[in-house]
Structure formats: C-alpha cells, structure tokens
Symmetry: C2
Subunit: 168 residues, 2 copies
C-alpha cells in the first residue's frame, strides 16, 4: 500500500475525532464527580478574545467535513452550529466521523491536483491544489481546534494526558 | 505529482515550525513592548502538572527530527534539551527545520511499510508501520506541541491569530 490522498486524511480525521469523544467522556465524568453542570465547558476560553470550547469542536468538525466534500468534489453540507450541551457536541463529533467514513477511498484518491476554492467572508477566495489544501489547511485546522479543545479541558482540570490525545 | 511519504510529512513539519518561529518573534516583541523578560515564557504552563513552554518546543522539534530519521532508516540524532532562553529555543526550531530539509524525497519515499520501533522508558517498545507512525504518531505529536505552545502564548497575551498559525 502506498500513502494516498484518502489514506493521508480520512483515517487521521477519524482517529482524532474518536479520541476527542474520549476526552468529552472524561470531561463529563469530571463534571459529575465534582457535581457541576457539564455544559459549563462550552463557554471556556483561554483568553477573552478567543472562540469558546463549543466553537472549537464545531470548527474541528467543519475542517474534516469540508475537506472530505471538497476533495471528492461534492457540495459541503451545511450543519447548524447550534449545539447547546456537551451531549449535543458529542453527537456533532460522531456525525462528523460518520460523514468522513461515508466516502470511499476511490472518491478521494487522485485529488492531489484538484482545484479547491474556499470562499472567504471578506476578500478574495483562497485557492489551493487538493494536496496543499489537505496538508497545509484542513489537517492543521483539525489539529488546531482539537488540540485547543484538549488544552481547555486540561486547563479546566479534566484528567487527560498524551495517551488520550494520541488514542493509543 | 502524487502525495508521498516525504511530501505528506516534511513540508508539513517545515511549514508549522516556520510558523512557530513567527509566533516566537511576536512573543519577543510583546515582551519588549511590555518590558518583561522574554525568557519568562519558558516556564509557562496551562496546568501545574503540564510540561512547560520550553519543553513543548523541544518535543515538537523531536517529533519532526525523529520522524525524518526513522523513516529514512538512520539513527535519530540526540540533541540536548538545554535551551534556557527564547533565543535558544528559536535556534532549536531553526536547527530542526534545517535537519528536515537535509533529507531528499528519495530517502523517505516508499517508507510506508518500514517497521518503526520506538523504545519506551517503561515497558514494551511501540511498533508501527512507517505510514501509521507518520500519520498517527509523528504528525499528531508535532501538531499537539506546537498548538500547545501557541495556546500558551495566546493565554499569555501575545497577539497571534489563526493566520499566524496557518502561516498564510
């Protein structure tokens, strides 16, 4: 087997999002043990001008979903960012895993040179090749937002460590 | 061009480590503007039982260096973790970039099935195929530690944002 556009992306998304489910489970257990509302996590930030925990999860989800759709050349599904509980965020992550798994390798492989155009709210769209988009935009975004979510939970006292992060 | 073991790893390491140099520059400027010792960053943590900022940089460096060496089948160089200033950490990051760039694509490509054995301080070594090692260990470790370094700087008031992270 040689590495391919599908194998370089989809299994990494699925692995990290699955690990994230484990961190959410530990966050839930931590809240129950300390008898606080687990939905309190949703507003956590490391700085007041940062997006909160809930948004970190939603953007991580979007990074994976949009990458799969764009590399396959299908429309990116729009999902409302309306999760208001930890349980709903968990469901959003699971929905993302299922979406990533719904693509076959054949739909993604060979997309190295596909032109990927990302509309920006302000200014010119971003334009990448498929390979550049996967390696320097989608994967870094996924890792950025899951790691930030991890850091927020860690900062909030949840007992997670490197093995939870890597999912070994 | 098709994605390969070299192209899936080396340019991602170099891009993220180069972006990290930019965050360190902004951290230095922030310290100068506020007239505090920039070496104060080195001990920052988000929780008391977490490795400090300096160690996040050293481990990110190690993730990239060890991955290149192991995939190429050469001995992983040992670098002392003795950086005591922000300038020395910057030099460590640059040294890592130079090391990654010292490998040709031909040295790394085709390493998908190479057996990678990582000795652990306690217990059995970890054993991966080259492709699993790159995707589920080396890259996640690199992103974990650079993003944690980013989060520490962001938490510490340094004005960095997503475009600094992605390096666009």
């Amino acid at each position: 087997m040689t590495i391919s556009m599908h194998s370089a992306g989809a299994p990494v998304f699925v692995r990290m999002l699955t690990n994230l489910l484990g961190w959410l489970d530990k966050a839930q257990a931590h809240a129950e043990a300390r008898k606080f509302d687990p939905n309190n996590y949703l507003g956590l930030r490391l700085a007041p001008d940062m997006l909160p925990f809930s948004k970190q999860i939603q953007i991580a989800s979007d990074a994976a979903k949009a990458c799969m759709a764009r590399l396959a050349g299908v429309e990116v599904p729009k999902w409302d960012d309306n999760e208001a509980t930890l349980a709903e965020l968990r469901a959003r992550v699971q929905k993302t895993i299922d979406y990533v798994n719904s693509f076959s390798a054949a739909q993604i492989d060979g997309s190295e040179g596909r032109t990927i155009t990302i509309p920006m709210r302000s200014g010119e769209p971003l334009v990448f090749s498929g390979e550049t988009y996967l390696k320097h935009y989608a994967l870094p975004n996924l890792f950025f937002h899951v790691t930030t979510a991890y850091a927020l939970l860690r900062h909030g006292g949840v007992e997670i460590g490197k093995s939870d992060y890597l999912g070994r």
